[in-house]
Symmetry: D2
Subunit: 431 residues, 4 copies
């Protein structure tokens, strides 16, 4: 396995072993903190194939460090359990075969306690490795450590999606937490923001960590465009529903319309009309729908149909990145402790909600940048092999760790998927 | 809901309220004892649609008493939780809609602790009801209590099937218990036992509890026949495998052959060839195959194909009952604590293993006896509506409570099912 | 391949080679006559997996004679085409692999003309074989010839079912024939006919041809019972629909109710409510529903639910046979040229419509008679391997050749199937 | 329905009504000529859901003219048959509901003769309409006529794909034609051709017909790149197979690898190893594989995996168009009458086989060009609604009419599809 090529030398992790270990420990603790509200029973559920049980996430995060750092780099390392390589391998064919994804919810064993023991085992071995690895090995190790930390942050976010889906599927509608922060803000009317076209550089090019799929930085030619000042709200999306949006094929892509019919979609995921009022499921339990909040849990098909209905379009990922690059990386991230998108508040001179709140669907299929090559070996499977049939989303969400997101970050999902925190920002050509 | 018509007045339950309550408590305790080896995680797993998670069984057993005794008979009874009527209804359309069976494994909530609290709540209310019910009500109540007790015993047995399937599905192959009884017996050669034909009465007709499907007692005309002296062993079944049994369509029913192809069957369920040796999964964990033990976890299709290969046939349920009626109701039941079939030992003047060890496939489809009518109301759904597409099995198994089984007991499964303790006894016409 | 054991020596075919050949030719001509109303395009359609295209039937009928008579018995016989053994083998594993059944409709080639040339080829070779076979061979040959003739008659009937299904599936609703006979009769009220129980012999035991599954003749013990004087009419069945029959789970077997839900059944197959009136598809095209005609194209589940709703039951096959044996074999067969069931007319001292009109669902699963053994070799696959999961129907239909049916004839279909001419006759215990 | 915006006034069709009609007639005759080798039976087959029966194509081509020209533009026009609007509507929701696509093969009626009568009816009405339409209407009419002509040409090509699939599926492996042209050329070694990057205009911008999805013409920024001098040959692709290409997950996109596993792919579609030699199905019947011919019937996944294996990549659609624009529009089109790709012959200064032979997979997902808007009304469904989940292919094939193809032509298929004439041309960055 080669070193990950996109890990830059200047990163904090490389600067100091102590700093690296501190960051590792902080992120690991955060994973456990996210699980604290769960019962033992909650750890095991997989309410659809896209979901992984929380226990599996916790084990797989650990597997990543064991597989890509301890096994190759720590001489004499004894794996915690011989079967875990198979059980907790997500999709790395170069590592070996994988326990079938749709059956992750059937793994009563190992127990939660055993999975935490696995965690302890790896944490201790990793601390030793970081402290004692020869200087010549450290840069390679640091790069992998950084990848593992970012990998764990991605799974922290997925864990929240999955817990939400599991809880929403249960007729008892349990709340993940009762003490979440709440916002009283209102969403102002959309202003539009103009961006001049021309040749722009996109992709990660600076210091700090980035995933391989964010590079190489390269130039693209953009036209003049405008971007909406905030995300589309529940109220705005409801107007689409009221106008028959889910029943008018002319608004939909053909594959989207087939999905609407097959799945019987009539509203975003987690909306439920009960006794004349719309309610939605949140990580804080069921709530009344707030018209000012950004609409979330919509698929690409719904985002695209909504944009068509409004006579606009979604931005390309390059337009989005061009607009976001100069902005401060601030917003409703996981640290804000809403775990839900919040209303944008009053309009401003710059587009609001670009970072945090919700991943924003772009009209760009997830394909390699010019000059991209996946790294050799197993870590090369991290991103590159998924570059077909998916769409790019940008900006992070209320479930993303703040220090995990940047303007060049490319998230990707299939156009029919809805269980992640995804929303809609409109764009239009500026003639 | 009418009283169950097949509950006889002479039964112990009816004789004394104290005796009834004692029996209720003993059976309830036994359910909990069966769950003691389980971790919290084990309670939630459903490895296929036919399986229910142990937690669901525990809740549903309780639901039965709450739904059919407390709600209709206890004035002012307050249900433990309003959603449980829906969540733990198995298939009683007259009670209301049912949470989808294949998704029982997704119910992280209620937790195990909550399900046991439900149990306590119902146990206490039921004790009060039994103690205080007016004398006029008691006979009806006693009949339902007896039905609920037998219902719980059926689920005790299913719980063991389901735990076994869940554990066998897990690559870690955990053992349910490490301290099970073991047998060193050998299986003697099969002798055959002759039974004279003529007009015989079959079906339940005596004292004591029986399910509605065991009656009415009625006469049938049988030919002379012979019954094998014991169950078919693993060694005998292996000869069928070695002779290409799973690859020779001429030995199979057409639907059976289609199943073999579709499922890729090459041996009974839970057999696994590893490094040149056959191993099987048991409730005591993986073991080497014992050639003398009765072959188990075979479908009707396999039992039928094996019999054809041997030039014999399976018995009809009436033949089986005729042979079993005079025999003592003794055998390897759950109380023997093997939780696995054991070798028959030396031959005898009477067929061995008729009771216990394994349910025996008969060649009789599960249809109503002449004169059978399902009871009115919800309890009428207990047995009658399943009288199509299934086959009758007789005799009980190593997972059946001894006092739950009798000669007239009609168990039934689909011909492709294999996860229950089912085996093969041969028969032949006696010309 | 052994000779078919149920072909009796006294049959006309065996009596004289000329008579045998004449009967062969008459039946073969009848197959072609049934196809005369078809266009070339109609020959190729397979509107569901249970249906075979008419061209496939025509070829398969011929294949039977080629495979079971010409190839083994005619020295030097040259098969018409080497691929036909595979293409037109229905389900005989002993002959070899089979072209996949659900794809029969994809076989544009061979063309219709080629399939008729195949027919001519086999007819000529068979005539020579019958005329010139040595005397020692003739009895065996005669038995197989008779089997082939009856086989062809079965496919004549299936061909009509299949043409009807294909035509009904087409939105243009073409008529198979516009010149069918019509009846103006009315259906009288049902009378009931008493039959005394006791030990009765059932199964074929006399002279003439019978399929292997009709024997051996054996004794059964019946109770006293009553049989309805005619088939249930559309009007009577409509009362069941009006009473919510398709929406009341308590009336249905569990598997039946699941089928109703899954398939969205709301009426028998081929019923369609249009502009306030019920219309049905027939081989004569779409017609208004005639309330006096027997209800047809109902599944076993519907027949069983209807009987339960009426507080009665379906007869067993042994009851039916006992009642039918003394009756003259007369009725609305294919020769009457209705190709549709007709009203029963006024009541009589004997049950009407026992033969012809519609196959009558019995409550008897299709299982082997005591002492039954399938013949050795490929013809042994004709009936025996289907003896699971299906139900017995009796009496023949308006699509059956009259000389093909007898009281002991056991037809069988899966309980969910509806595209054959099947109807309902009620029975009840006579206390 | 608005006029199609991409129909340019300068086109021959608009120049003269007589020329327009002559072109219409020529294209219509060509459709019928393509069907001449078919038997009546061949017209009805649909060997998979992607395939339409030839009869359906013939009717649908006609439907297009009836629906989009005659019905709206010819006062008093009487449709040939009221049901055809439904039966032969492919996917135009604005026109109305559609007969289910996967069941097109079940439509025995209308017959082939009736479909040709429909064709005659529409041809005659259309000629009258073209000749007599008021001058003010003619430009709109001409635009739609041109669209219909191009639509018919697309279906001519699809018809050949579909006939090939139908015939290949038949175990008799019939040839569509025995008199096809054959080539003895050899494929020279691949040379590479350099193209300079920079800002290029792509998309249709000139005179003549183009589909809406080819515009608007717009500028893109390309890097320097090289394009292979010809298509990949069977021999070159076989080296990939021999190197374990279909068994090495690291070469595949994740969705591609899942497809390989699910479908059991081991070679391109229509390859078959028999007795040690590879054979392929062609429209001229089965042939020995010619190593020098371009490899065809590969999916995007296979094209992408092959490129990765070779350390190269597929071109983007903009690169391809930039390279193709200056080239003469010559190649192996349907008029060459090979109906199969032929070897490239000796290398040249310009890339060979850019037009004709095979559609070339690009790495570009099929998405709208900047500024694209689908036309209003039903014809707006022609292209725009398919802009998700598909990949762009360029250049036309041996089944494309020559005058139908141009450099800006964007064809599109799902990445798993293989039954069209699609092949591989490699590209690489020029550093």
């Amino acid at each position: 396995m080669s070193v990950h090529p996109d890990v830059r030398a200047g990163d904090i992790v490389v600067a100091s072993r102590q700093a690296a270990l501190a960051r590792y420990r902080a992120v690991r603790l955060q994973s456990e903190a996210l699980c604290r509200p769960l019962t033992i029973e909650d750890y095991g559920v997989q309410s659809m194939a896209d979901v992984s049980p929380p226990k599996w996430h916790i084990a797989h995060m650990t597997w990543f460090f064991e597989t890509f750092l301890l096994k190759p780099e720590q001489p004499g390392y004894r794996p915690f359990h011989p079967a875990y390589e198979y059980l907790f391998n997500s999709y790395y064919n170069a590592v070996g075969p994988q326990y079938p994804r749709p059956e992750r919810g059937l793994l009563a064993r190992p127990t939660v306690a055993q999975v935490y023991a696995y965690r302890r085992h790896v944490d201790e071995a990793l601390a030793r490795l970081v402290e004692r690895a020869p200087a010549a090995v450290w840069p390679r190790l640091a790069a992998l450590l950084l990848l593992g930390i970012n990998h764990e942050q991605q799974h922290q976010e997925l864990l929240l999606y999955d817990v939400k889906h599991n809880f929403a599927h249960n007729p008892l509608k349990p709340a993940y937490r009762h003490d979440l922060a709440r916002s009283n803000a209102e969403a102002d009317g959309t202003g539009w923001h103009f961006f001049a076209g021309g040749v722009h550089a996109v992709g990660h090019g600076g210091e700090g960590f980035a995933f391989d799929n964010e590079g190489p930085r390269h130039e693209v030619l953009l036209g003049d465009f405008r971007l909406a000042g905030r995300l589309i709200t529940n109220g705005e999306f409801f107007a689409f529903i009221e106008d028959g949006g889910y029943a008018r094929p002319e608004l939909w892509l053909s594959d989207g319309w087939a999905t609407v019919q097959r799945e019987g979609w009539r509203a975003p995921l987690y909306w439920e009309a009960r006794e004349g009022a719309w309610r939605i499921m949140t990580l804080g339990g069921e709530r009344e729908l707030n018209w000012d909040e950004p609409v979330c849990h919509v698929s690409y098909y719904e985002a695209d149909a909504f944009a068509r209905w409004r006579g606009q379009r979604l931005p390309t990922e390059e337009e989005w990145e061009g607009a976001a690059e100069p902005l401060p990386r601030e917003g409703n991230f996981v640290e804000a402790d809403y775990l839900h998108p919040v209303p944008a508040g009053p309009g401003a001179r710059r587009p609001a909600q670009m970072f945090g709140d919700l991943w924003e669907w772009t009209r760009s299929p997830y394909v390699p940048y010019r000059g991209y090559r996946a790294p050799a070996g197993a870590v090369g499977e991290y991103n590159g092999k998924f570059m077909s049939n998916q769409m790019v989303l940008r900006g992070g969400s209320c479930a993303s760790p703040k220090d995990h997101i940047r303007a060049s970050y490319r998230n990707f999902f299939y156009p029919h998927q809805r269980w992640m925190f995804a929303g809609i920002r409109l764009a239009e050509d500026a003639p």
